[in-house]
C-alpha cells in the first residue's frame, strides 16, 4: 500500500531523509521508530502530499505522492503531530467541515460513525477549545478516519497523553489496523513492540533496521545474556563475580539489581554451565533466567554504533 524508494529530503544543506526505502503491505501496522529529529515527520509529510521529496519517489495505493497528489490525499487519513484543530468550532462542525473538504457523500452518517469509533458521540457539540488533550487527539483521529481511507498515517498519536489515554489510543490503532494500513511514528519502543506488525527504525534519516518486532529482537540479540541471583551466608560480591567469571565462555559479569548480568561469548547458552558452577561451589542458586533484549536495547545499540561512526568521521 505504501512503497517508498530511495526517498531523500534536504532542507538547504541539512538532509532530513536520506535514501530511505521501505514498504507497508495492505492491512499492516507499520511502526516508524526513531529519536526526535530522525526524519519521521518529514517522511510522513512527503507521503501525505504536504511537501515534495528532493529525490526518490513514493507511492500510496499505486499513486505517486507527487504527481498524483490529489488521489493520494483522498486515500490517506493523516493526523499530524500537533493535532490541527479549529478551537472555535464544535467537534461535529469540525468533522463536517473536514468531510465537506473531502467531498464525501453521507456526511452526517460518516461523522457519526467516526465519532462512535473514537467513542466521542457524547461530546459532539463541545467546542474544541474546551476539550482535554486526550479528547483532542481523538478528534484528530476521527478526522483521519472520516473518509474511511485505506491508508492511515499517524504522527506520534500518543504523545502528551496520560497513561490511560495512551492505552485507549493504542487499542484504537490496533483496531484500525485490522482493516486499514496504518503507519504510525513513535519514539516509545515498547509501544511499537506492542502494536506493530512490523517496525522500521530510522536514525538521521536512514533506515537502520526493519522487521517484525520479534524477528528484530532475535536477529539483533547477538549476545547471550542471563541474569543470575545467588544466595547463601556470604554475599561477598567480589567472590561471586570471581566464581562466575571462572565459568567457561563467560565474557562479562556486571552487577544488576540484586544479582548479576552475565554475558557469554558468541551468544552461547551458558545457563547449564552457570548452574553447575554455582551448585558445585555449594551456593544456592536463587534465580537464573535469560535477559531478553528489548527493542530499547537494540535501538540504543544500533544508534550508538551510528553515533560513534559519525563522531569518528
Amino acid at each position: 500500500m505504501i512503497k517508498v524508494e530511495h526517498l531523500t529530503k534536504r532542507y538547504g544543506t541539512f538532509t532530513a531523509v536520506d535514501d530511505l526505502s521501505f514498504e507497508a503491505r495492505h492491512g499492516e501496522i507499520l511502526g516508524f521508530l526513531g529519536p526526535n529529529g530522525a526524519g519521521k515527520t518529514t517522511t510522513m509529510r512527503i507521503l501525505t502530499g504536504f511537501m515534495p521529496p528532493t529525490g526518490g519517489h513514493a507511492t500510496v495505493a499505486g499513486y505517486d505522492v507527487f504527481t498524483e497528489s490529489m488521489q493520494v490525499r483522498h486515500l490517506v487519513g493523516y493526523m499530524p503531530e500537533t493535532v490541527p484543530l479549529y478551537p472555535d468550532m464544535s467537534v461535529r462542525g469540525y468533522l463536517e467541515f473536514m468531510a465537506e473538504l473531502r467531498r464525501i457523500p453521507n456526511r452526517r452518517a460518516r461523522v457519526r460513525e467516526a465519532l462512535a469509533r473514537v467513542d466521542m458521540l457524547d461530546r459532539a457539540e463541545s467546542l474544541v477549545r474546551n476539550l482535554s488533550k486526550g479528547l483532542r487527539q481523538r478528534v484528530g483521529l476521527a478526522q483521519a478516519i472520516i473518509h474511511d481511507p485505506p491508508v492511515l498515517i499517524l504522527d506520534e498519536p500518543t504523545i502528551g497523553l496520560d497513561p490511560r489515554q495512551v492505552l485507549a489510543v493504542r487499542s484504537l490503532v490496533r483496531e484500525l489496523g485490522k482493516d486499514h494500513t496504518v503507519m504510525f511514528s513513535t519514539h516509545i519502543l515498547s509501544e511499537a513492540e506492542q502494536i506493530c506488525d512490523r517496525v522500521l527504525i530510522i536514525h538521521q534519516g536512514r533506515a537502520i533496521a526493519a522487521g517484525p518486532p520479534q524477528t528484530l529482537r532475535d536477529e539483533l540479540q547477538k549476545s547471550g545474556r542471563v541474569f543470575v541471583r545467588i544466595g547463601g551466608a556470604s554475599t561477598d560480591a567480589e567472590e561471586l563475580v570471581a566464581l562466575l567469571e571462572r565459568v567457561p565462555s563467560v565474557a562479562r559479569v556486571e552487577a544488576m539489581d540484586t544479582g548479576f548480568a552475565v554475558t557469554a561469548w558468541g551468544g552461547k547458552d551458558i545457563r547449564p554451565a552457570i548452574a553447575r558452577a554455582v551448585t558445585e561451589a555449594g551456593r544456592p542458586l536463587l534465580e537464573l533466567r535469560p535477559l531478553a533484549m528489548t527493542l530499547e536495547d537494540i535501538f540504543l545499540e544500533v544508534t550508538q554504533v551510528d553515533d560513534v561512526e559519525a563522531g569518528g568521521a
Binding site: M1, K3, Y11, R45, T48, G49, F50, M51, P52, T59, A61, G62, Y63, D64, M70, Q71, R73, H74, L75, V76, Y78, P80, T82, P84, L85, Y86, D88, F97, M98, E100, L101, R102, R103, I104, Q143, P150
Partner: protein, 259 residues
C-alpha cells in the same frame, strides 16, 4: 510494466468543478460571526458612519447644497485602509501558526481553493457591512432627493475597492504566522496605495510620477465612482489588484510546502 501499476488502484472521487471553495467560504464567513472581532468591526463602522452621516447632514443643511449619496460611501471607503487588514489578518496567519495549514494542504483541496474560499468569505462579510450602510441612504432619500444612479455607482466602486483591499490584506496574512505583523504590513501597504497620488507629487521624473499616480487606489475610486461614474478602466484596475494579490497569496501558501 511498473510494479506500482500492478497494485489495484483505489477509486477516488472525481475532481469537483468548484473544488472545495464553497466549503472553505462557508466556514470563513461563519467564523466572522463566531469571533467577536467581526461584530466589533461592524459596530464600530456603523457608529463612525452614523457620526459622519450626522455631520454631512449638518454640512448640507448649512451650505444649502444638494445632499450627495456618494459622499457617505466615500467616507466608508476611506475607512477600509484600517478595516481591511483587521478583517483579513487572521485568515491565513492563524492557519500558519496553529498548524492547521498542514491539514488543509494534505486535504484533496487545491491551494487556490483555500485562498479563494477565504477571500470570498471575507468579501461576503464586507459586502454585508457595506449593505448595512444602505440604511443611511434610505434615511437620506426620505429627507432629500439624492441622485440614485450616483449612489449605485458609488456602491459598485466601494464593493470593488473593498475586494481589492481585502485581497491585499489576505496576501500579507499568507506571508506570516503573526496576525499583528500581517495586519500592520497590510495597513502600511493599503495606506501607501491609497495615498500614492499624493506621494507621487514628490517624484520629479514625470513618467514615474504618472505611473505611481496611476497605481493609487484612492484616485481610482474618488475620480470616478465617487462622482457617480462607472468607468471600465477603474473597474479593471481593482480587478487586477485583486487578481494580483490573490495570485501572490496562492504562491505564499504553496511556499509553505517547501519550508
Amino acid at each position: 510494466m511498473n510494479d506500482h501499476q500492478a497494485e489495484s488502484r483505489y477509486e477516488v472521487p472525481p475532481p469537483a468543478l468548484t473544488g472545495s471553495v464553497w466549503a472553505i467560504f462557508k466556514r470563513e464567513l461563519g467564523q466572522y460571526f463566531v469571533s467577536p472581532i467581526a461584530y466589533f468591526v461592524a459596530f464600530v463602522i456603523l457608529l463612525i458612519m452614523g457620526l459622519a452621516f450626522n455631520a454631512y447632514l449638518e454640512i448640507w443643511k448649512d451650505q444649502r447644497t444638494t445632499a450627495s449619496a456618494p459622499a457617505l460611501v466615500g467616507f466608508f471607503v476611506s475607512l477600509m485602509v484600517f478595516m481591511a487588514p483587521l478583517l483579513t489578518m487572521r485568515l491565513l496567519a492563524e492557519e500558519n501558526r496553529e498548524g492547521t495549514i498542514e491539514l488543509l494542504l494534505t486535504m484533496p483541496v487545491r491551494d487556490i481553493d483555500i485562498v479563494l474560499g477565504k477571500f470570498l468569505g471575507a468579501w461576503a462579510y464586507y459586502t454585508l457591512l457595506l449593505l448595512v450602510t444602505v440604511v443611511y441612504q434610505l434615511i437620506l432619500a426620505s429627507v432629500a432627493q439624492p441622485d440614485m444612479g450616483a449612489a449605485i455607482a458609488s456602491y459598485i466602486g466601494a464593493w470593488l475597492y473593498g475586494g481589492a483591499s481585502l485581497a491585499v490584506g489576505l496576501m500579507f496574512s499568507a506571508l506570516t504566522e503573526n496576525q499583528i505583523v500581517a495586519g500592520f504590513l497590510g495597513l502600511s501597504a493599503l495606506m501607501v496605495m491609497f495615498q500614492a497620488n499624493t506621494f507621487a507629487l514628490s517624484i520629479s521624473d514625470p513618467n514615474l510620477r504618472e505611473l505611481v499616480r496611476a497605481l493609487s487606489t484612492g484616485t481610482h475610486y474618488y475620480r470616478s465612482f465617487a462622482n457617480g461614474i462607472v468607468r471600465l478602466e477603474d473597474v479593471l484596475f481593482f480587478v487586477f489588484v485583486m487578481a494580483g494579490a490573490l495570485f501572490v497569496a496562492v504562491r505564499m501558501v504553496e511556499s509553505r510546502r517547501w519550508r
